[in-house]
């Protein structure tokens, strides 16, 4: 028992650290969202929902929210489409070389986002290989950077390793014999995917897609560096409100609305998940 208690004390220290360094500052920051901005970093002293009302009635802010959501969702969907076949091949392979590739994938997930984004900047920049190729083919030299497309590419690139790993786990839970049973039953590869693989990995795809979406909604680096100031997303806007306008209350309100929005979308999309085995249906029937 004595040992057990000393372990508990160790936990207490961690709790204290996160309270002081994380919860408290967050609390004070979010509390500001209910007070008026007086300029010069000063805030008023009567709490109200004024900041929220201002944001939710201003087409500019709403446009930023819509752009962020759209970009995040599209990037998550593209990521799913690219990650699924990759994860499938990895999950179905018996070769140890392929298993080694998964370790590589894990390593790329730890590469700093700055490095990844800079790589994309070189690749897609006006002097980069793609632009050079396009110029020699068409004669025109449109830059691919500093627009929504560039940001979407960055978002997809960043979330891809994670998506592949998540879907790898999902596909591994589907026995290969199910695919063989479908093939023996007369199903083509396409029918097999539509009737067996996709229904059985649907819930996993929803979960993986939501995780990628959430990462995209909070993505700052890709939006700033690849968007080059032309693609204003909520995280970028929050940073500007704090650094350029010194408007903590509106920044805080934006952060709260971003969190609530992401939460709501997650709850909404998660209801699409269903029990493919009918287990819940039976529970209802017998209840």
């Amino acid at each position: 028992m004595g040992n057990r208690r000393s372990y508990d004390l160790a936990l207490l220290a961690a709790l204290l650290v996160s309270l002081v360094l994380f919860v408290l500052p967050l609390f004070f920051f979010l509390r500001q969202s209910f007070y008026e901005n007086l300029g010069m970093g000063l805030v008023g002293d009567t709490p109200s929902l004024r900041n929220y009302a201002d944001i939710l009635t201003d087409p500019f802010y709403l446009g930023v929210f819509w752009r962020t959501t759209r970009l995040s969702a599209v990037a998550a969907l593209i990521g799913l489409c690219i990650a699924y076949p990759t994860a499938y091949v990895l999950a179905r392979s018996r070769s140890s070389f392929v298993r080694g590739l998964i370790v590589l994938l894990l390593i790329t997930a730890f590469v700093s986002i700055i490095v990844k984004v800079l790589g994309l900047t070189v690749l897609m920049g006006s002097q980069g290989p793609i632009a050079t190729l396009l110029r020699s083919l068409t004669g025109s030299s449109a830059s691919m950077l500093h627009n929504e497309f560039a940001v979407a590419v960055g978002l997809v690139q960043y979330s891809l390793p994670l998506l592949v790993m998540l879907l790898f786990g999902v596909i591994q839970t589907i026995p290969r014999s199910l695919e063989e049973a479908a093939a023996v039953g007369g199903a083509s590869d396409w029918r097999l995917m539509r009737r067996v693989l996709l229904p059985l990995s649907f819930n996993g795809m929803i979960t993986a897609g939501l995780i990628a979406f959430n990462m995209n909604m909070g993505a700052f680096t890709s939006a700033v560096l690849l968007g080059g100031g032309n693609v204003l997303t909520v995280p970028v806007l929050i940073q500007r409100k704090i650094v350029l306008d010194v408007d903590y209350p509106v920044a805080a309100a934006l952060a709260v609305l971003l969190s609530l929005g992401v939460f709501g979308i997650n709850v909404g999309v998660a209801t699409l998940r269903r029990s493919p085995t009918g287990a819940s249906r039976m529970r209802r029937a017998t209840a």
Binding site: S177, G185, L200, A279
Partner: protein, 375 residues
Amino acid sequence: MAQRLGAGHRARLIDKMTSVTLDKVVKRYGQVDVVRGVDLAIEEGELVVLLGPSGCGKTTTLRMIAGFIEPSAGEIRMGAEVVNRKPPRLRNLGMVFQDYALFPNMTVSGNIAFGLEERRVPAAQRTARVEAMLAMIHMEHLAGRYPSELSGGQQQRVALARALAYEPAVLLMDEPLGALDQKLREEMQREFARIQRSVGITTIFVTHDQQEAMMLADRIVVMNGGVIEQAGTAEALYNRPASLFIADFIGRSNKFQGVVERLEGGEAQIRLDGGALIRTAVPAEVAAKDKVICVVRPENLRAGRADLDNAVEARVLRRSFLGDSVDVMLELDGRDEIILKAGRADLATLPEDGRLTLGFAQGDVTCFPASARTG
């Protein structure tokens, strides 16, 4: 009906019950030959069991017939058509998997209808067929259940119904009863035998359980080390094993080691290692002075029958009462452990311990050269 179900939309689909022929089939993985030249002709409507220890190549052979694996050499034919490269979906096979492989996202009816839907069988005909299948497996009342709501035996039945629903050309069974407990297993064996007989479909059944093989098969094909060791009826394999491996693998065998002392027109006098002299026929390749292993089935040893062709003395170690019979463990000259299987009627005459004379007829002994591979 199979012809109607298969005809029309897919010209290349094999559309009636067929024979299956394997011609010098080889499967090589890197340097290892898993299947090393299998020749086998399975007739229309025949139930052939591929039997053997794990790693003998029986599952690989079945998966080549299914089309999941392409043979490295040789030919697989369904009817007259070479199917080596034909994809599984065009072979018109029914298959029952070891883990059943029922689609968890479909009900019992949905699973059974799967192959019919893939063949675009009209809805009315499909419904009738699914109902007939449900009746066949006595599960009409569970049509709307999902696989996760079924017992192992029920899942097994659904898997069989799904495989037979579209009247396939050949039925493949990959150790389908391996996951069931003994009692249920025997029940399913009887039910499967009933259904297979009533459908009359060409069937290839893989198992490592020799009792299951003997119970089901028209013909048992015993595989060992990637080749067919012996093929024949259960009776032929049991009574006339072609090798020591078969004698060991099919049923139980007592083994006596000895040396051929005299050889006269195929009949040999063999001096057992313990000193007893027995007479029996030996295979042609055995010469005088050769070491041999003589095999006698436990039920062919008779207690106290010194009047039979051969007799050896043994010491009783213990007896086990098994209900319909008694197993007696014996020690022969302090070497081999011998089992004698006696009827319940003989129980009274068997001593609890001490010495016992074991008699056996010349025709009940099978001899193999001692150098023979045992697997």
